[in-house]
Symmetry: D2
Subunit: 341 residues, 4 copies
Amino acid sequence: MTTLRLGVIGYGYWGPNLVRNFATSSRTRVAAIAEPQASRRQAAAMNHPSIPTVEDAAALFANPEIDAIVIATPIYTHHPLAAAALAAGKHVLVEKPLTSSVAEAEELAVLAARAGRVLMVDHTFVYTSAVRKIRDLVAAGELGRVLYLDSVRINLGLFQPDVNVIWDLAPHDLTIMDFVISQTLGIAARWISAIGVAHYGHQENLAYLTVGFDDGLLAHFHVNWVAPVKTRRTIIAGSKRMLVWDDTSPVEPVKIYESSVDVEHIDKESAYALNVQYRSGDIRSPKLDGKEALSVMAQAFAGACLDGTPTPSDGAVGVRIVRMLEAAQRSLEQHGTRVAL
Amino acid sequence: MTTLRLGVIGYGYWGPNLVRNFATSSRTRVAAIAEPQASRRQAAAMNHPSIPTVEDAAALFANPEIDAIVIATPIYTHHPLAAAALAAGKHVLVEKPLTSSVAEAEELAVLAARAGRVLMVDHTFVYTSAVRKIRDLVAAGELGRVLYLDSVRINLGLFQPDVNVIWDLAPHDLTIMDFVISQTLGIAARWISAIGVAHYGHQENLAYLTVGFDDGLLAHFHVNWVAPVKTRRTIIAGSKRMLVWDDTSPVEPVKIYESSVDVEHIDKESAYALNVQYRSGDIRSPKLDGKEALSVMAQAFAGACLDGTPTPSDGAVGVRIVRMLEAAQRSLEQHGTRVAL
Amino acid sequence: MTTLRLGVIGYGYWGPNLVRNFATSSRTRVAAIAEPQASRRQAAAMNHPSIPTVEDAAALFANPEIDAIVIATPIYTHHPLAAAALAAGKHVLVEKPLTSSVAEAEELAVLAARAGRVLMVDHTFVYTSAVRKIRDLVAAGELGRVLYLDSVRINLGLFQPDVNVIWDLAPHDLTIMDFVISQTLGIAARWISAIGVAHYGHQENLAYLTVGFDDGLLAHFHVNWVAPVKTRRTIIAGSKRMLVWDDTSPVEPVKIYESSVDVEHIDKESAYALNVQYRSGDIRSPKLDGKEALSVMAQAFAGACLDGTPTPSDGAVGVRIVRMLEAAQRSLEQHGTRVAL
Amino acid sequence: MTTLRLGVIGYGYWGPNLVRNFATSSRTRVAAIAEPQASRRQAAAMNHPSIPTVEDAAALFANPEIDAIVIATPIYTHHPLAAAALAAGKHVLVEKPLTSSVAEAEELAVLAARAGRVLMVDHTFVYTSAVRKIRDLVAAGELGRVLYLDSVRINLGLFQPDVNVIWDLAPHDLTIMDFVISQTLGIAARWISAIGVAHYGHQENLAYLTVGFDDGLLAHFHVNWVAPVKTRRTIIAGSKRMLVWDDTSPVEPVKIYESSVDVEHIDKESAYALNVQYRSGDIRSPKLDGKEALSVMAQAFAGACLDGTPTPSDGAVGVRIVRMLEAAQRSLEQHGTRVAL
């Protein structure tokens, strides 16, 4: 099999992007689109006259000409749709986050393992050129020992009707953290805490999350729907170098600073005294490859299904992210108490 | 009495700035400088040939020609020096933070009250033109209901030998918050929590603080000595407008955004559904008066001592700030648990 | 007649944008597309299945169901195509610049006048929300007396095979200047000078243009295909206020500075001595309407053809712009000598 | 002789900076200050109690304890003072520009040569860490063939009473150009042209200068006292790399872009067709040494006088700069006609 034949469920906000990328990717073909709303089916037909549309997703599961199912529907429908797709022997790609609970996510992972099928989550950010470059820098030891990750992801954003800002925005940061820290350095997050506030209604529109690793590695996230300026800034500080990723800057999104702190020695007489030296030097902004993230993700899914190539957003990662989200939610309800992962 | 005659204790890092400003302020005169180190006394004599220097601060307390004492010495000496000065009937200005414990701070406040003397803290930031402008905007209701305050104060900074980053940098943010929120809106902080990490030695070099008020008003601070880029950015979001203060920008430090969220109504059928509207509009950067903060602070101290004019950094404020620092320290040691204020 | 039926000639680089906007505009309908290249006709048919395509533009001229012709072809073909369209009684919209010579441009203007048909040029920039806002500010006298206009339009850009950087980039700046200065203030450009250099081959890739008006109003343009950073910055300075338009800034493209110079009086004893005062104050960034420029332009063309509404890029303006380009070219060949307009 | 004993003439705007640097430089000593205004002599005495002040510069010339004269007085006094100093056998450092005419400048150069004394101009900018770094990059061939230099030096600046903006601001750019291009690459400027306008009074407050070299190397300068935003941006484009120097940026003033244009070949059939390729890549911001420019300049003057070390701002350079200024002035009066150098 050299071409993966896909059925896409959901043609709302994100579905059109997925269809467009899978339709133009070299190893995939969109065989059908399932969408219950008539107006959206019409839009799909207009944009892709050659792709048939159906109302009911069940038609995709029953279709032997379809190898894999792409699910771009509201989060609470992910589990039943994915479970049905896996039961029908299809590979599955699910919009992020994988599910709305760890129990559901783990069940899907088990079902996929039993069925010998691919379960993957569309953690788009880990396929961006910026994050792939950052991962490479961390993997190559360019930063030295990683000290902390600090991310600010705020803007005047759309209130989501059924989720709070943590479930809406934090998956981006947590998947990036999982990819760059956990998968690259082989270390696991130990605990998470979250503080938030709902200024309008019941859903938190502002939250701060903290994730603890061993050895003092800390990750902190500010996610916010009510901010005057769009900010997408991630700092990763290491003992040798530090980097800043500004995702709103078209020209120099990633900058590497030759700035670091050197601890010369611990003073013998007093464990409290330190002899620290500061070095700051050149700043470098590496050229990024211009590949579209969704296109890279589409190829990764094709590679996973057709060749068994591992991906950085497989079912196990999807479970980890949902576990962090669920724990963050619990911490939020417990006034920021640390919740073990 | 129209001129306040000052004795300044300490001519190390900050003392020279205080002497320079008090020496040139219209209503104050520096009568003497006390400094135990000979080399620093020489520097004081070179810069201010007409101001006598002494080795021992006791000489200032005993001097009837001195009305007020300015204390610019290490934090652990603030309490004994200020107590002695008040006992000698002098007004007192202390470098921030007031003391290293609430008990000490409260004792000084009591001593000052009994002696009928001014106790003031040099919370320099509340005298800057930017913060005064921000306070005026909040006081005038320009922002509407204040929703949150978020501040980032990070850079590759000097490790302090005897305090962590919270005691070094957070006093700036807490005094600004106290001035702009508590003093202006008449609402008190309820709790504080802090998470931090010491990457080198025993003193935390990175910390996140959260302060809770009633009605969902949240303040959050990121203070950090190990960051690649110097950032001094404070967001204050209100229901009508939001502002961003970038203290590193020489041209437009304060920007006011006509950006807000309007909740039209709570949907009758479901308390969870909101009908929110987003407005974004003009951005305005008000011209700030160019007054040097220390000069404004010097005049405020003179006004407090000579005329009894209230100041936004009196002893009571000083006690509040130390109480927040002490509580943050306790939270830090308890993994971020909220500590009531 | 309430709907303008269009024939579009050329479906290369810019044609698709024009077709898309005219196809979705409320008062226009694209009746046919003429394009000699088969592959481009296929692309047109794919994107717009309901619009017929033809190989030869002559079919559009002969079609009585077509009211107006849109010409998006290489510059040297503008004159014959537009002349034929006008001869067939069609309204005409031509891609910028109108023609490659003043003689041709003037002939088209005469033909249009005789035929009683609209001749308009797609000077897209004058329909952008930023330029319309700037024109409004100038028209309202917000800037006071306009002193100068300075524009930098540089980047690492594509070398055009058959024109130099003046004919490629300067039309944008000259049309903006004509709109904001000449049309709004009723004053005409008097002379133009140009200096340039061809670092590769025969076409200048870097040029500086200066345009003189009466009363010391000067406009200066830097256009450049070989620059490290994309810069699109226009300063318009007035005696009361100044504005900066940064077309690369998504957030605050237009900023208005309360900065000005006041001449108090000319010193009596010496005409050379001036008593000048400087005022600088608030900075304001007005919210722009988010309308797409091409859509506004499409509506303007419809309004011109259907209702006779004047537009800021009619044939007379088109002639003026070509006259300036031709004069700049002559100056370039004469080492920057001023050429009268 | 290991220490250079200096007499400084003029303690107005710039003199204090020179005295401060020469007083603290390791190889120089300020023996006396001459200043006709009593209030300025008092200021000098306050700041430097150990340096005697005199009213009349003649006393410095006559003083055998003085080896060199530093002239920080209005430009029209440079020639008589420098001539007298050279006649008295002193080395001479003159504030920029050297004189107000080429004739005067050349006469000083001749006098210095005859007397065997150093004549140097304080072209401060060529001693800044940024310009020295840029010169090193050009000298090392990092940019490849230099294509052009473009500089913008504008702000809401003080109108000078007796000179226009060219004589006030352009010396900075011309000295930088002379240092980085002429002295480093060994090529001479061939012509200069200038266009300007006086919006207030008789002195031009806005001007554009262009300087031509051989091989199509062009330099262009925008100098302006009436601009809303302070801009100090210099682009130097080369065939291999380009650099941008933003003198207002404290963090990354010099950036080197791996951006260039490659001409693959000239198409055989048509001399007009080019096959160009564009490369853009990493951006690098080198760490600059933090030396104060005036201190480096002071050491260069000491080295020239004591050791005969050549400097990049000697009398010959000073003459060249005045020649360019004089030629620019002539071009300005002739509406921008090129004036040969």
